[in-house]
């Protein structure tokens, strides 16, 4: 059995704002990236646009139980359900499958700082650590740290309770979430899925991970394509992207309007070395996008700006589809890790719905590992 997979709902948010319209300036060439270079100087971030949480997370108690990465995701999931006409449709939501790409981990920065300060002079550091953690950590912080609790909160707030699975692994988690949902729908292993990811870049602990890897772009803003020659690096962005995917038959039976058709999603994770990423992107293209036609089509790239992999991806795309417009999502929303691929696919779908494009290919080359590619067409 192979069934067509339709995208029937989009939930987008980033530094550009919320909703599809806020992101379509990408295709008019009329968009100014929003960057905050002060708050975490010398690091820049694309901060989340201000949101009225109450609009998608009505209960204050729910809002309090979440940290920002979860709130961003729950909010975008609500937008996607609304867009698909499924918000509050208890019966369908109870059967809906959920696949979330998530990180996790939030810290209490003040507590961490106090403990590190105290540890310096503590006579018995291990015992000191135990005592401070036992008395200073909010018990519910754990629930904001657990990776699968973004999905858990979507179940609680929106009633999506068919079954939930959480994929981890940075960019590739977002790629595989869409790949598995697509494969399951196509094979009849599920009819309706909510798929997406969320990322909060405005966290010193996540900046720390990437700064250890020397991967953050600290110079004045430049396009991802121009960064490799200058040392390379990415600017993290806060964002979330969720999509409702349905078997065509299921969507038609409920009279849903398709946004776009998700033709194929391909993924691989090759051992990195010179030329490996370029070859991987080319192979994924052959697998998933051989029917792409450049007329009325565009490529949305998840290129990071990191030296080596960025040039290889660009080279592969230029070889495959010379002359086709390539929009670097990293230039406008930043690098949004787990959210990058689902959000970029959502932006491509929005462009197809509003007739900016008839077809699109979305790429992801993870900053450390993993390559992915999606091919979308109008219905």
């Amino acid at each position: 059995m192979t069934r067509e997979v339709w995208i029937t709902g989009l939930g987008l948010l980033s530094s550009l704002g919320e909703g599809a319209k806020a992101h379509l300036g990408v295709f008019d060439g009329d968009i100014d990236p929003v960057i905050d270079s002060e708050r975490f100087a010398p690091f820049s971030v694309h901060p989340s646009a201000p949101l009225e949480w109450d609009r998608q997370i009505p209960k204050k108690a729910d809002q309090r139980q979440m940290e920002p990465w979860q709130r961003l995701g729950v909010y975008a999931a609500g937008l996607a359900l609304e867009d698909a006409g499924l918000k509050g449709d208890a019966e369908r939501l109870a059967a809906m499958q959920l696949i979330v790409a998530a990180g996790g981990g939030e810290r209490d920065y003040a507590v961490d700082g106090q403990i590190l300060t105290g540890l310096r002079t503590a006579e018995k550091p291990g015992v000191f650590l135990n005592e401070r953690l036992m008395s200073d950590i909010r018990p519910t912080l754990f629930l904001a740290q657990l990776s699968n609790l973004l999905a858990g909160n979507i179940s609680i707030v929106h009633g999506v309770t068919g079954a939930t699975r959480t994929f981890m692994g940075e960019e590739q988690a977002g790629v595989d979430a869409l790949r598995i949902a697509h494969a399951r729908i196509a094979a009849g292993q599920g009819d309706t899925f909510l798929v997406g990811g969320a990322y909060n870049a405005e966290r010193p602990d996540v900046l720390l991970i990437y700064e250890m890897g020397q991967l953050l772009w600290k110079k004045p803003y430049a396009s991802v394509w121009d960064r490799p020659g200058e040392g390379g690096g990415f600017i993290p962005g806060s964002a979330a992207g969720f999509l409702v995917l349905e078997a065509r038959e299921t969507a038609e039976a409920r009279g849903a309007t398709p946004v776009a058709s998700l033709q194929a999603v391909a993924a691989d994770q090759v051992t990195r070395g010179i030329g490996a990423v370029g070859a991987s992107v080319e192979a994924l293209w052959q697998q998933a996008a051989s029917e792409f036609r450049p007329t009325g089509g565009a490529i949305l790239s998840g290129a990071t700006g990191i030296t080596g992999i960025t040039e290889e991806e660009r080279g592969a795309l230029a070889k495959l589809m010379p002359g086709t417009t390539v929009h670097a999502m990293g230039d406008v929303i930043g690098h949004t890790i787990e959210a990058q691929f689902p959000l970029s696919v959502a932006i491509a779908a929005a462009a197809i719905r509003d007739s900016y494009l008839r077809q699109a290919v979305v790429t992801s080359v993870g900053h450390m590992r993993g390559e992915g590619l999606a091919f979308l067409t109008s219905v």
Binding site: Y109, F142, L208
Partner: protein
């Protein structure tokens, strides 16, 4: 042409052809099976870190694999490697470093740990109050580069992929305490789709450090009956007072049944059914009526083309928290009816503790060993029966019994409920 076997829904049949396991009881199936059927506990006083000032001072840590200094992703990787080596060697599939299929691996969420924070704080040279700005400044030196990769969520899976040569994009997943079962479920689905002839499904967890333990402690989820450690985990008992954290890993080679018999592989059992259902009631508690648990159990049985009357034995989630055991017993009784009073059910967690991310995979291996050996591992520490849970928990001593259809339950925070149904090799 070879005969094509299909299940009652016309799908490829998913066979298990290799299994590996490591827990606090030891490395390998033989050692674990001997200990589990002897009713031996792997729970002990924690020596990995100081426990002064903690309410819980015991766990089923795996201390016989040297990871010095301790770091959760490194131990989790080691445990997964050991289990995968055993499973692949038993399956005798592919060649060294060339496993012919995908990898689905349940890994504990990764995070930077205190020793690394302390090292960064020290390197920052800050002598006053330390903040993350100091840590970030120290990170900029480039001296800590390997820690970037160490603390990425996808690293353990990538290293396992490289080592065993699994194909495609490996999936790292978490569904909290049902993660191990979800890894198997994803593998089953891939084989049923015809995408893979073989997959490697792993659950691993080596994450007992002070903060991890304290988090569960602050949620009052852990047993505090520290002395003697081996008697703390008391699933289904009236005096149960929480779970004991454990570590371990299990790996299963899942294979299209026809592919397995065509190459002459020994069939260890069948993953006949998978079921799952989300629960939107609460972040840590089940819906009061247990409807999602009931739905997951029903779905696993139905997905195997069976009825509740066909279930011979249950490998319980059985964490020993007051809530879990009551809800699990309630859910099972709702599905199996009066017959549930006579269907044996036991909890491996009474001996190895709750291995969290790995639990569903470890308990899958034990379920299949139970079928193969015709012997039910006991629920140890069962001295004070709970009148509200009138079940045959195989109390304290293992029992001989031929079982061919075993249900294994996994439930987790965040409304995760996943059930698997294992059977002996089909007679076709």
């Amino acid at each position: 042409m070879a005969q094509q076997h299909r299940d009652s829904f016309g799908r490829p049949i998913v066979a298990v052809t290799g299994m590996g396991v490591v827990t606090s009881l030891g490395a390998g199936k033989d050692e674990n099976w001997a200990a589990l059927t002897a009713g031996r506990s792997g729970i002990h006083a924690i020596s990995r870190f100081p426990t002064e000032g903690l309410r819980t001072t015991i766990a089923g840590t795996v201390d016989f694999i040297p990871v010095e200094p301790f770091c959760a992703p490194l131990l989790s990787e080691q445990l997964a490697t050991l289990a995968a080596e055993e499973a692949i060697s038993q399956a005798a599939i592919g060649s060294a470093g060339d496993f012919p299929g995908s990898l689905f691996i349940a890994v504990p969420p990764v995070e930077m740990e205190w020793p690394q924070r302390v090292a960064l704080a020290k390197a920052s040279g800050q002598t006053g109050d330390i903040t993350y700005a100091d840590l970030l400044r120290a990170a900029g030196s480039g001296d800590f580069k390997p820690w970037h990769n160490l603390f990425l969520f996808g690293t353990v899976a990538d290293r396992i992929r490289e080592r065993f040569g699994t194909k495609g994009s490996p999936i790292s997943l978490s569904t909290a305490c049902s993660s191990g079962a979800t890894a198997i479920q994803l593998g089953v689905e891939a084989i049923r789709r015809g995408e893979n002839k073989a997959v490697l499904a792993i659950g691993t967890d080596g994450s007992v450090h002070a903060e991890a333990l304290i988090r569960f402690s602050l949620l009052s989820a852990l047993s505090t009956q520290n002395d003697p450690p081996e008697e703390a985990a008391k699933p289904f008992s009236k005096n149960r007072d929480g779970f004991v954290m454990g570590e371990g890993a299990a790996a299963l080679v899942l294979e299209d049944y026809d592919h397995a018999i065509a190459r002459g592989a020994r069939i260890l059992g069948i993953v006949a059914g998978v079921g799952e259902k989300g629960d939107g009631f609460h972040r840590t508690r089940s819906s009061p009526g247990g409807a999602p648990i009931i739905a997951a159990i029903r779905e696993a049985i139905a997905d195997a083309g069976l009825t509740p009357d066909d279930v011979d034995y249950i490998n319980a989630h059985g964490t020993a928290t007051p809530e879990n055991d009551r809800m699990e017993a309630h859910g099972l009784t709702a599905v199996l009816g009066e017959r549930m009073a006579e269907v044996p059910i036991s909890s491996n967690k009474s001996m190895i503790g709750h291995t969290l991310t790995a639990a569903g995979a470890i308990e899958a291996v034990v379920s299949l060993l139970t079928i193969a050996n015709g012997r039910l591992p006991p629920t140890i520490n069962y001295r004070v029966p709970d009148p509200a849970i009138p079940l045959d928990v195989v109390p304290n001593v293992a029992r001989d019994a031929q079982v061919t259809r075993v249900l294994s339950n996994s439930f987790g925070f965040g409304g995760q409920n996943t059930c698997l149904l294992f059977t002996a090799e089909p007679v076709t």
